[in-house]
């Protein structure tokens, strides 16, 4: 076991983890944060996307020990009380989801994208979200949601 100390959604947390423990399973099983989904488990679908030190990463491909000392944000850490994060609000308003399985990952990837490029073109949005797969929506409303979030200054 290796002792790690990190900040998750603003709260300090310390834990003993097996080095092979993947960040996504640490978040889901050890911390009970089940908002982050596992889709493919092979670094393809992006459902497991979280922010590590503000940048999007696929948490199925990061060991928890690699996040020692880092700031991790999951979808649970976005809303302020009852007020959704502007990206969540935009996904809601633009109906950018059907089953919703991919949504936490898309929301986290979008936050990272808009931080790097606050006014992306449609092509930049599609390219910027190429690490996330959605089997339901056909992406159209996801792109609209990202555009709306960008307009809202997310």
């Amino acid at each position: 076991m290796t002792r790690i100390a990190l900040t998750v959604n603003g709260s300090r947390c310390e834990a003993d983890v097996e080095p092979r423990q993947l960040l996504v399973y640490f978040l889901r099983d050890q911390l009970g944060l089940k908002g982050t989904n596992v889709g493919c488990d092979t670094t393809s679908c992006g459902a497991c996307t979280v922010l590590v030190d503000g940048e999007s990463v696929k948490s199925c491909t990061v060991f928890a020990v690699q996040a020692d000392g880092c700031e991790v944000t999951t979808v649970e850490g976005l809303a302020q009380g009852d007020e959704l994060h502007p990206v969540q609000q935009a996904f809601h308003e633009q109906h950018a989801l059907q089953c919703g399985y991919c949504t936490p990952g898309f929301v986290m990837a979008t936050i990272s994208l808009l931080k790097e490029n606050p006014n992306p073109s449609e092509v930049e949005i599609r390219d910027g979200l190429e690490g996330n797969l959605c089997r339901c929506t056909g992406y159209h409303n996801i792109v609209k949601a990202v555009q709306a979030a960008a307009r809202a200054g997310a």
Partner: protein, 268 residues
């Protein structure tokens, strides 16, 4: 798909990493983890000790070193893309890095890990070979410089010895371009082509056309003899061994290489 159990140590310096590697012949370095962790999850790789060099931030840099550019081995793909020095003096590195995987992969993956892993489909491997880059490695007996032409020895094989850590990559200032053909989003290259003007000579490299990145020497020689881009590009598949797999047949790859080499030369 959980990797086999392993011991974990985080190195605080390159020398410490070298020493830790000496402890166990099945030890492996962990940089961004974006090649190693997927292979460990499939249990293709089962290192007994992982030496994490991911926090060696002093190996994350791009600097000018007289007429060359020095890139720290831990520099991440996303950093290569936005680096102003590379943009000005060696833009094809950022151009190729921007085509690797997806943003999440580019936030974690490093140039050192990319070339050390030695995937024949690695984009940056081709770039370094095309530019005649030098790779600096540190081991128990000190530092040595390996020319890119001597670095890639086979699929997932390279010239590094067990305890050697890649620390720096040096490239010349060069104008160039990288074209990558993929059929799906965030895919590896079906074929990739790099073309660069190095010291007045045009050099051309190929991705996914053999067991390692390759130089298209016949294309280069034809150009040196005055051939047009189209005539030179006809030699793109000479001396290559393009694989057949689920994405493309060997013949299709050979055809693609010719088309992409012509386009890259016309763009150069």
């Amino acid at each position: 798909m959980i990797p086999a159990a392993f011991e974990y140590e985080r190195a605080g310096s390159v020398d410490e990493a070298v020493a830790l590697l000496g402890r166990d012949e099945d030890a492996k370095l962990l940089a961004g983890g974006h090649s190693l962790i997927p292979t460990m999850r499939l249990r293709f790789s089962r290192p007994s000790l992982l030496v994490d060099i991911g926090r060696l931030d002093d190996l994350r840099y791009v600097r000018e070193n007289r007429d060359r550019i020095a890139i720290g081995a831990l520099t991440r793909h996303a950093e290569l893309i936005r680096d102003p020095m590379l943009r000005e003096h060696c833009a094809l590195i950022g151009e190729a890095a921007a085509l690797i995987g997806d943003p999440q992969v580019r936030h974690r993956g490093t140039i050192g890990g990319s070339v050390a892993h030695g995937d024949p489909a690695s984009d940056l491997g081709t770039i370094l070979l095309t530019l005649d880059a030098e790779l600096v490695a540190r081991g128990p007996r000190g530092e040595r410089t390996i020319p890119a032409a001597a670095f890639f020895s086979g699929p997932f094989e390279n010239a590094l010895e067990h305890q050697e850590v890649l620390t720096e990559i040096r490239v010349p200032k060069a104008a160039g371009t990288y074209l990558k053909y993929v059929r799906r989003a965030h895919d590896w290259a079906t074929v990739g082509v790099a073309a660069a003007r190095v010291d007045g000579r045009v050099q051309v490299g190929l991705t996914s056309m053999g067991p390692t990145p390759l130089r298209a020497r016949s294309v280069e020689d034809a150009l040196a003899d005055g051939a047009s881009p189209a005539d030179a590009a006809a030699h793109a598949a000479d001396d290559t061994m393009p694989p057949t797999d689920a994405t493309a047949s060997s013949e299709y790859r050979a055809h693609l290489a010719q088309v992409l080499v012509r386009r890259a030369l016309e763009r150069l």
